[in-house]
């Protein structure tokens, strides 16, 4: 009965259409939940009243005065301890330096673990895995004391210095990224190394001239992830830095919330938006690479 079949098909089609419409409605609700805080932040940053209590989604009093305040261009608004641009540049500086250093350290180590053969290799890999189970933010008090003691000897790497903070980040980087790097290196055919060896290259020359160019894609992903991770770190930076001109952006933004948060809400939102923008852009342009790296590696930290 062809006619009956047709009816059945069209009823399935209708069912499908209803299901799609329901799912689209759900999607709108979910998107509202997902982006509302972001819209709220954007709207607050353009609300000249700078107040938490009166803000609405479409600001009645729209303008860029919060941004001018952030640029210290508003004589009626005193920042006091707020040094937004110093914090932002501190954050970028610290994240860039630690990313470059930690990438150097881990890539070299991953090369040795992947390509060289030596006694205790498996043992050391297991050791690193074991130590990874105890992330260094758990030993907060000890790390703080250690850096404070080191600062008693060499002030330049002690408490309240960016160098000290970067050193601590370095310590944690080995366990974090070595698996990603070594895993990728293991997939590069060893025939490449052999060709180098036949030409009489040293292991370092093989690493530098033959493998490093092939590592570029993974280096890029690890660098981005490591930059984002360091940029977003709060706890270690909060504990190790105590001078407002030394703060990173994340620590500085938290300082905004101290005291009369509701009276600084707009300026905070403007600062938060500028601080978030670079990371958001990185995510949107490099979504696929980052997602690939993430699912292999760790949870967002």
């Amino acid at each position: 009965m062809p006619n009956n079949n047709k009816i059945k098909q069209s009823s399935i089609k209708r069912q499908r259409r209803v299901s799609v419409i329901i799912r689209l409605i759900v999607a709108v609700l979910l998107i509202a939940f997902a982006i509302f805080p972001v819209l709220w932040m954007i709207s607050a940053s353009f609300d000249n009243s700078n107040s938490l209590a009166t803000q609405s989604l479409i600001p009645a009093n729209a303008g860029v005065s919060n941004y001018l305040r952030l640029f210290n261009k508003d004589p009626n608004f005193s920042f006091g301890e707020i040094k937004y641009w110093t914090w932002l540049s501190n954050s970028i500086k610290i994240s860039s330096i630690s990313t470059i250093l930690s990438l150097t350290i881990t890539t070299l180590a991953a090369f040795a673990f992947s390509r060289l053969r030596f006694n205790g290799r498996v043992g050391m890999l297991k050791g690193i895995l074991l130590i990874q189970a105890f992330p260094n933010l758990l030993s907060l008090v000890a790390t703080f004391t250690l850096i404070s003691n080191i600062g008693n000897i060499v002030k330049a790497i002690g408490l309240n210095t960016h160098a000290g903070l970067i050193l601590v980040y370095m310590g944690g980087s080995m366990g974090m990224n070595i698996w990603l790097m070594k895993g990728y290196l293991d997939t590069i055919p060893r025939a490449i190394d052999e060709s180098g060896m036949l030409d009489g290259a040293t292991p370092f020359q093989i690493f530098w001239h033959l493998l490093l160019p092939l590592l570029r894609p993974i280096l890029f992903v690890v660098a981005i992830l490591s930059f984002i991770g360091t940029y977003g770190d709060f706890l270690l930076a909060r504990v190790l830095l105590n001078d407002s001109s030394k703060y990173t952006l994340m620590v500085g933004l938290q300082i905004f919330t101290a005291g009369q948060f509701d009276k600084k809400w707009g300026v905070f939102a403007a600062g938060a938006l500028i601080g978030a923008l670079p990371i958001m852009l990185i995510y949107f342009f490099l979504q696929d690479q980052i997602v690939g790296g993430l699912t292999q590696g760790s949870v967002k930290g």
Binding site: V141, I153, M170, Q254, F261, V299
Partner: protein
């Protein structure tokens, strides 16, 4: 797994003379720097740092000189950083947990002794001077001193070394009738009566203070000034301090020099106190109660977070998984937004939005239903708020990993189930969910561990509050162990920092987190993989 040995890069090195010389020169520089540091560390009493650095120096010297150490040169710096900033702090935490390190005991014994040994007293007798006082327009004092036995004349100012001076020297006038210079540059002479009645003068210490071997002089009576004496004498062999003025003897008692009649000398210093920090938790109800609450919440909060974010993430992944679903890409991109902003920022935005008085959420709730929860002051609502914010923060990650895993489930299983007449719910329960859990299980454990230590959320959103009533420490209803440790160590709220106590809790945290992570390794066969694929 191949049985045949993989081709490997030869470890033997053909190194040029030049690079060898550079390597040795760098190693020498490193050694000099490190040994200087070790020396400095040991004189300040940081023996542990000295030992750790010593180990690194030996390790570097071996691998950078011996041919056999070649492969280790690549990982030398990584391992060194790891040793200093990850491994050593683990042991150091354990050590601190057994000490009284904290307010009143912040210094090492060496540092404390150095401070104590600088303390002086004014002896009742001994070397003395006659004195004449001068005062500058700014209110600074100077003292002209004549040694009673030798007749030597001296000029003393606070904070400057005492110098020997004679009338007629540059800046010093000729001698007057009272035996003292009539003028001193910048200062005017005080007459005897004025000087004797001056109330600040007897409290001023003239000369450099706290500098070894420097003389300090203080006025004792209108006719006499005397040299201050070192107050405490430390006997290294007996480990006792003796007060030179009173003859009282002080013994080292858990980091404070204490006399038999209970007097103490400050500052105190770090000392081991055995299991005291741990015992405190079992014996003090003001500590025990809050800690148990925090522990329970520390397990519950990540559990609800993982379950709720995973449930929402999977639902989204399944709903919009189908090929050709309209606007699929746009929907996913928009839903990913919470994930793309540094969480510190969005947590603070949520903090503003959920403000009980002015926040937009409560303004909306008030206008619709006429009432709104006090998110920051009521424990249960604070906990719910934390969970809502974490759902927002966490669901996009779950969506990402589950849609990845969904792709890997072969579609013929579903076809077979459809033929067998399974409903959608049955298919989900007996095919999708089990296969999904196998694929993302390890990531769920990792997410649990991450949230177990989600300091940023708890601290930035609500500071661990609202406070637990009756707690002797700064503990709150949403505190997790890590935020509690932070507060004990760095934000005591006037109760005094307690590094020892904080470290004792860190040990508990080590054990819990370590166990969970090792469980994750077992679950994922990561441990075995290391040995097999290495």
């Amino acid at each position: 797994m191949s049985i045949v040995d993989k081709p490997k890069v030869s470890n033997s090195v053909a190194e040029s003379q030049v690079s060898k010389i550079i390597r040795m020169a760098l190693l020498l520089v490193f050694n000099v720097g490190a040994i200087w540091f070790i020396y400095q560390a040991s004189t300040k009493g940081f023996y542990q740092i000295a030992i750790v650095l010593g180990i690194i120096v030996v390790f570097f010297d071996i691998i950078f000189t011996l041919e056999k150490g070649y492969p280790f040169r690549y990982m030398a710096f990584g391992l060194a950083f790891m040793l200093i900033f990850v491994i050593y702090p683990i042991f150091f935490t354990t050590y601190i947990a057994f000490t009284n390190y904290g307010d009143g005991h912040l210094l090492t014994k060496e540092q404390a002794l150095r401070q104590i040994e600088q303390e002086t007293y004014l002896p009742a007798e001994g070397k003395s001077y006659t004195w004449t006082a001068y005062k500058s327009a700014e209110g600074n004092y100077a003292l002209w001193l004549v040694d009673k036995t030798t007749g030597e004349t001296l000029l003393a100012k606070p904070g400057e070394p005492i110098i020997s001076a004679k009338p007629g020297d540059p800046g010093i006038g000729e001698i007057g009738t009272d035996g003292a210079p009539a003028t001193i540059d910048g200062y005017a002479k005080l007459n005897k009566l004025l000087a004797a009645s001056d109330k600040t003068l007897p409290n001023i210490k003239f000369g450099e203070e706290g500098v070894e071997g420097a003389k300090t002089v203080q006025v004792r009576s209108p006719n006499e000034a005397a040299e201050l004496q070192i107050r405490y004498l430390y006997d290294k062999a007996a480990d006792t301090l003796t007060d030179q003025e009173t003859g009282r003897v002080y013994y080292d008692k858990e980091g404070v020099f204490t006399s038999t009649d209970g007097r103490t000398v400050s500052p105190g210093f770090r000392a081991t106190v055995g299991w005291k920090n741990f015992k405190n938790f079992f014996t003090s109800p003001a500590l025990k109660g809050p800690l148990i609450r925090i522990l329970v919440w520390n397990f519950v909060f990540p559990l609800i977070s993982v379950v709720s974010t995973f449930a929402l993430g999977v639902s989204i992944a399944i709903m919009y998984n189908e090929e050709g679903f309209p606007l699929k890409k746009l929907i996913r991109t928009l839903l990913l937004i919470p994930y793309t902003i540094p969480s510190v920022i969005t947590i603070l935005i949520w903090r503003g939005m959920l403000n009980s008085e002015f926040g937009v959420i409560n303004r909306i709730l008030n206008s619709i239903i006429g009432t709104a929860p006090r998110w920051t002051t009521e424990p249960i609502w604070a906990q719910i708020a934390v969970l809502i914010v974490n759902l927002w923060l966490g669901f996009p990650y779950m969506m990402l990993i589950s849609s990845g895993a969904l792709q890997s489930i072969p579609s013929d299983i579903y076809e077979a189930a459809t033929i067998d007449g399974a409903s959608s719910w049955q298919k989900f329960r007996s095919i999708t969910l089990p296969l999904l859990l196998v694929a993302v299980g390890p990531l769920l454990i990792a997410s649990y561990v991450f949230n177990f230590n989600n300091f940023g959320l708890i601290y930035l959103f609500i500071g661990g509050g609202p406070a637990i009533v009756g707690a002797s420490t700064n503990a709150g209803h949403t505190d997790i162990l890590l935020s509690y440790i932070y507060k004990l160590a760095f934000e005591s709220g006037g109760r005094g920092v307690q590094y020892g106590l904080a470290s004792a809790i860190s040990i508990v945290l080590f054990i819990l987190v370590g166990t969970m992570t090792l469980l994750q390794y077992r679950f994922t066969n990561m441990w075995e993989e290391v040995s097999e694929n290495a």
